[in-house]
Amino acid sequence: MSIDNNNCSDEANDRKHKKDVGRRQFLDWCFKAVPAGITLFTFGLSSKRSSGEDTKTSNNGKAPNSEVSYAMAVDIKKCIGCGRCAAACKKENKVPDSPYYVRTWVERYVIPKKGEPMIDSPNAGIDGFPDQPENGDVLKTFFVPKLCNHCDNPPCVQVCPVGATFKSPDGVVLVDDSYCVGCRYCIQACPYGARYIHPEKRVADKCTFCYHRISKGLAPACVEVCPTQARVFGDLKKLSSPIHRILQFNAIKTLKPELNTRPKVFYANADQEVR
């Protein structure tokens, strides 16, 4: 009887021991699984955001094509400063009317024989430019259309704290306005002044190369309306694209190359004053 009793108590102890081990194992598992789960959840989502897989772009449901690399070239010699590009952009993309919110604008440079260059862009160049006094002191004058440079190494994408701004596989820098928190860090990080905070949406806004148009095979609005073909849009990966011709036959510069942003807006025949 006593032996039986002993056996019973041994079994009970054994069960208890097993139960203890089970609890310990469970806690151990929790300690490992919870941080791992949080890490996976956080990093998984963030990488998903930053690569732009989960973003609403106006791509008509088509998957962005990594075989394409969109770019623009601007021939300074051809620009007449009519401002139609800036006006078309405002209309096409419903950019606020105010002169202080622009996706693209035209600058006029007046380089005097002596002294500092004079630069202006009244209302982004949409209404044209006031006459300059002709006193013979002007060395040269030219117009420079500006827009987001859709950098290959974009500082705005780097600094966005939630990954709302991202580079699409076809090389266009976009903003997910349903996700942007409006911290404005991207605006500070952009060396080209290409971004602004949309006054109604309270999110960062900028040129998209008219993504809703180019994904249908159309040209961006600014390119479409340019009467002198100063703006040329194309695919860097396609040798037959018209952009290659302008890149091949002109002296090309990009803006602020020392910052290593690797812009995809190329300027032909631009003066050194252009920044």
Binding site: Y100, V102, P155, P161, V162, V181, R184, I197
Partner: protein, 402 residues
């Protein structure tokens, strides 16, 4: 918005040269000036507390707990200016859920949470646990339950347990010092890493921010200590005040040396941006940089503190010198934050023009809101000091030491 546009249009006469169209509005305004100022106070106050705890500067004992509570009060308010400033504050939690890992700003939540939860709250809890348990037994009514709740069930007051508290507190302070460096160095990095902005982009920025943080935190604790002593009709401990001012002076010397180094470095390298930055300093920032930050906020208080600390002035006079210097230092550090944040946006990235900024009185980013956010930590500190009295009178201090 129309009103803002009109105001900007009115101010157009103040713009000089050419600025990009999107640069007419400053993106980061007064609230973002306030944010590094507040976090600086937190980091500085904590580092002051650690001087007593880790480096055993016993003369600073009377301000040890006060410094911890000051750090906590300012830390609670520190994220508010950021939150108010966001275009979509309701989405701010996304920074925790889906942080973009290459963004310095995305790390804010983690740095903040680490500092608040792991460093400051734990340190204060371990430091006060003995008092909290005693309060939970002595107090009556709601307070009794409040203290009971914050004992977190750890009511053991045995010698072994109290010793453990002390050890744990020390360990956390050890972790806390690099964390405080991280917190404010990180704020400096947010600005210093922006290569598009030559006024910000400097490897020295996090270090300059850090030392200015130490200066502002120490001066703030000095002010809080003096004011609270007056209101409590208690004698100010001169040994503590002298020591505190001495450390403050050393920190100021380091801070100003770093800033001068940064200045000389920029001038000597003379990069493309030097012309516009020179115009920025002489034109837009002359009063806030040369007069307010350098002269009123650095040179005068440095001389005053040096004179009071190492001269042969009577104690009464010393206190006046220390007090006025600490106020001037706050003015100087706030000016420094202003010069970095606002100054960095007052020139065009085209390097061809200067813009202007006018502080608004009302609105989410106005002067009134800023004043509210500046007063709020003081109210929180008052409540904290009522709940967790930081006054270590000589007899209590002695008892704690034994």
């Amino acid at each position: 918005m129309e009103h803002a546009i009109q105001q900007t249009a009115d101010a157009l006469g103040s713009f000089a040269g050419y600025i990009y169209p999107n640069e007419y509005f400053l993106q980061w305004e007064l609230l973002i000036v306030l944010y590094p100022y507040l976090t600086g106070l937190v980091a500085g106050a904590f580092i002051l507390a650690s001087l007593e705890r880790v480096f055993r500067v016993k003369a600073l004992m009377p301000v040890y707990r006060l410094a911890l509570l000051t750090a906590l009060a300012f830390l609670i308010v520190a994220p508010l200016p950021l939150l108010v400033h966001l275009g979509h504050p309701e989405r701010s939690f996304e920074m925790f859920l889906t942080p973009h890992l290459t963004s310095a700003m995305a790390m804010f939540g983690f740095v903040y949470a680490w500092y608040l939860l792991v460093v400051l709250l734990l340190e204060i809890w371990f430091d006060y646990r003995r008092d909290i348990v005693i309060f939970s037994q002595e107090k009556k009514g709601f307070l009794k339950y409040f203290y009971k709740l914050i004992t977190l069930g750890a009511t053991d007051l045995s010698e072994k347990a109290v010793k453990f508290d002390d050890k744990a507190g020390k360990l956390i302070t050890f972790i806390g010092i690099p964390s405080a460096f991280l917190l404010h160095g990180y704020v400096g990095f947010i600005f210093g890493s922006i290569k598009a902005n030559p006024w910000w982009s400097s490897v020295l920025m996090p270090v300059v921010f850090l030392f200015s943080a130490i200066v502002s935190g120490m001066a703030a604790v000095l002010l809080v200590y003096m004011v609270t002593s007056w209101f409590r009709w208690k004698q100010i401990n001169m040994a503590c005040l002298n020591k505190l001012s001495e450390f403050l002076l050393y920190a100021m010397i380091l801070d100003i040396a770093l800033e001068i180094l940064d200045f000389i470095h920029r001038l000597y390298e003379s990069e493309e941006s030097i012309h516009i930055l020179s115009r920025l300093v002489t034109d837009r920032l002359f009063i806030s940089l040369v007069i307010s930050q350098l002269l009123i906020g650095s040179i005068i208080p440095m001389f005053a503190i040096a004179m009071a600390r190492f001269g042969t002035l009577p104690d009464e006079m010393r206190r006046v010198f220390y007090f006025i210097s600490a106020i001037l230092i706050q003015v100087g550090i706030f000016s420094m934050r202003w010069n970095v944040v606002v100054g960095g946006q007052m020139f065009s990235k085209s390097f061809h023009g200067l813009t202007t900024y006018k502080v608004h009185l009302l609105g989410l980013e106005g002067l009134l809101m800023t004043m509210c956010l500046l007063v709020m930590p003081l109210i929180i500190l008052f409540v904290l000091a009522k709940l967790l009295p930081p006054w270590l009178e000589p007899d209590t201090a002695k008892a704690n030491e034994t």
